[in-house]
């Protein structure tokens, strides 16, 4: 049984990492907290659901569509974020909280409050080894998340763009002085982040019911993982995702499913209490 719990925890954790990467990237490069992150993920899920249900698109084809829709939404949001004044972090929180309310109600209007799930029968079958079981759904989640995380890691480490992004994360002013277009890096971070959400959204719709206010929990997850990892540490994001996924799986086993929702909140509060100056407290 333990192996099953651990496998499901790791697969969930990898998916959480995929969800949080966009948030971490946007925060790292632009210092904007995007509290509408979860709402965007649910929006991507709804786009996929709508195409799959009403237009009978094959499930895999909904990914590029959701990515395009999210890219456009992300770019619109970025235009507004870039107009915010200091204190940037606090103003971005207030603004994006408003955006989250707006998107939530927009989704309520377009898709009603009913619970919806993208049912792909193939994902519910599974493989059984001697004493452990993995469903194709979990396997897809694990495989796709790790693939995308790996790709993003390569981009960040090996390409010029990645280096420029990392330089902006580490020190905006120095990066600008070295000739990096910091404003363009912000746009790129938002685009990359939005595309990542677009990729994760349809998967989310497969493993979790879609309803307009579902995004709140996701936002909390993304914040927790980002703060746990610290700015600009991709490996840290993966580790944090796994720890959160495993803690949630164990919480479900030991305490019951209804306590799961508290795990990320408690983790975030503990982190903030231990590192009161937040992520930036790492800096000397």
């Amino acid at each position: 049984m333990w192996t099953t719990v651990i496998v499901s925890g790791i697969s969930l954790g990898s998916f959480y990492t995929l969800i949080a990467l966009g948030f971490a990237l946007i925060y790292g490069v632009t210092r904007n907290f995007n509290l509408a992150h979860g709402e965007l993920l649910v929006l991507a899920g709804y786009v996929a659901y709508w195409l799959w249900k009403s237009w009978a698109w094959p499930f895999w084809l909904t990914f590029p569509a959701a990515m395009v829709v999210l890219l456009l939404t992300g770019l619109i949001l970025q235009r507004i974020f870039s107009r915010l004044k200091e204190p940037l972090e606090l103003n971005s929180i207030v603004f994006s909280f408003g955006a989250a309310i707006l998107i939530q109600n927009g989704m309520l209007l377009c898709f009603t409050g009913d619970y919806r799930l993208i049912r792909v029968p193939a994902l519910h079958q599974g493989l059984r080894f001697q004493n452990f079981y993995i469903s194709y759904g979990q396997f897809t989640l694990l495989f796709l998340s790790l693939l995308v995380i790996g790709l993003l890691y390569l981009i960040m480490q090996r390409t010029y763009l990645g280096k420029a992004l990392r330089a902006t994360i580490q020190d905006k002013d120095a990066a600008a002085m070295a000739g990096i277009n910091v404003a363009a890096m912000g746009t790129i971070a938002f685009s990359l982040g939005a595309v990542l959400i677009g990729l994760a959204g349809p998967l989310y719709g497969c493993i979790h019911y879609l309803y307009p206010s579902a995004g709140h929990e996701v936002t909390l997850l993304a914040i927790t993982i980002t703060i746990f990892a610290g700015v600009g540490r991709m490996r840290g994001v993966l580790l944090a995702g796994w720890i959160l996924g495993l803690s949630e799986s164990f919480a479900v086993i030991f305490l019951g499913a209804s306590w799961r929702e508290m795990v990320s909140a408690v983790m975030l509060l503990t982190l903030l209490v231990l590192k009161p100056r937040g992520i930036l407290g790492n800096k000397p």
């Binding site: 507004i80 408003g98 508290m262």
Partner: protein
């Protein structure tokens, strides 16, 4: 005496006379709307939201933005409802005790989160709501979990000799009760903000280190403002529970009651006394009378939109801007 009143009246601005009109309209509202139950109910709720926004702003005055005031609202609502249902306390005492419960929760939140500043306090408060919510939701034996609490007793009648007021059953009476509460809270907030306490909070907000160096005990004042804010939010939550007689976990701990106080206070003007209350009196009726009939699902987009517009174009808030230009 009369001269000073006259000179004061001369100094009254356009905005001031507007305020007098608003006050008179609210005072005479039941007569003006012909005791229309629906309108009175909406305005009662608007006044209750005004008390929430005013309470939020006590903490807001110290510069903290809380996204988690539903924690106090929910604790107040559940606390008072359970006390009056289980132990048969009169709602008046259970409402007061609910305020104390909210203070207890505020103390926990303060000890955990008040070391954080700005954005990080906001994030922590967002996470903090989950804890009382999940506990209330799972403590089936006491709180009946996701079923919610039904049949919460209404407010009892007030007796003064042979004259009595049926607050529990008359909508007009509950309207006036909340009106008096909102007015009292407004007076208290006005007094607090103009006292040394308010000046200290303002100093903490503007320049914390400087405030500390001239002897303002920063931590104490931030904690006090949080506790006061929690207390009145809890009281409002308790009033809400007795007014509507049914509460559920998802609602009273929900995003609605976390978001609205913040939205209203910021739109009205975070650093003003009246702004938050005015925003509640404008936005909630606008939402209920105009947008709700138009868009039964999704009418609350209004709050998101207004918040975004305020952050972008009116950082001082509505009343803050009017005051500055007056």
């Amino acid at each position: 005496m009369i001269k000073s009143i006259k000179s004061r009246i001369k100094k009254l601005t356009f905005a001031d006379s507007g305020l007098v009109l608003v006050f008179l309209a609210l005072l005479l509202l039941p007569v003006l709307v012909g005791y229309n139950d629906y309108i009175l109910q909406v305005l009662t709720h608007a006044l209750l939201l005004a008390t929430l926004a005013l309470s939020w702003n006590i903490l807001g005055q110290s510069g903290s933005v809380s996204l988690g005031h539903a924690a106090f609202f929910g604790a107040g609502a559940y606390g008072s409802a359970l006390l009056s249902l289980e132990s048969g306390l009169s709602p008046w005492s259970s409402i007061f005790l609910a305020g104390l419960i909210a203070i207890g929760l505020g103390l926990v939140m303060g000890l955990a989160c008040l070391r954080l500043r700005g954005a990080y306090f906001a994030l922590a408060s967002l996470a903090f709501v989950e804890i009382p919510r999940v506990i209330t939701d799972n403590w089936d034996g006491l709180t009946r979990g996701s079923l919610g609490l039904a049949g919460i007793p209404g407010l009892p009648s007030l007796h003064l000799g042979s004259w009595y007021l049926k607050i529990g059953s008359s909508i007009t009476a509950s309207y006036y009760l909340v009106f008096v509460y909102a007015l009292g809270l407004l007076g208290l907030v006005g007094f607090l903000f103009r006292s040394n306490f308010g000046l200290a909070l303002q100093a903490v907000r503007e320049e914390e280190t400087a405030a500390g160096s001239v002897g303002v005990r920063v931590d104490v004042f931030r904690m006090l403002s949080l506790l006061l804010s929690a207390f009145f939010t809890g009281i409002s939550g308790a009033c809400y529970a007795h007014l509507v007689s049914y509460i559920g976990c998802g609602l009273v701990y929900g995003i609605h009651f976390s978001a609205l106080p913040m939205v209203l206070a910021i739109c009205g003007g975070r650093f003003t006394i009246l702004g938050p209350a005015l925003a509640a009196l404008i936005l909630y009726p606008l939402d209920q009378f105009i947008f709700h009939p138009l868009l039964p699902a999704g009418h609350e987009f209004l709050y998101g939109l207004v918040l975004i517009l305020t952050v972008l174009f009116l950082p001082a808030g509505l009343w803050g801007t009017i005051r500055k230009n007056a």
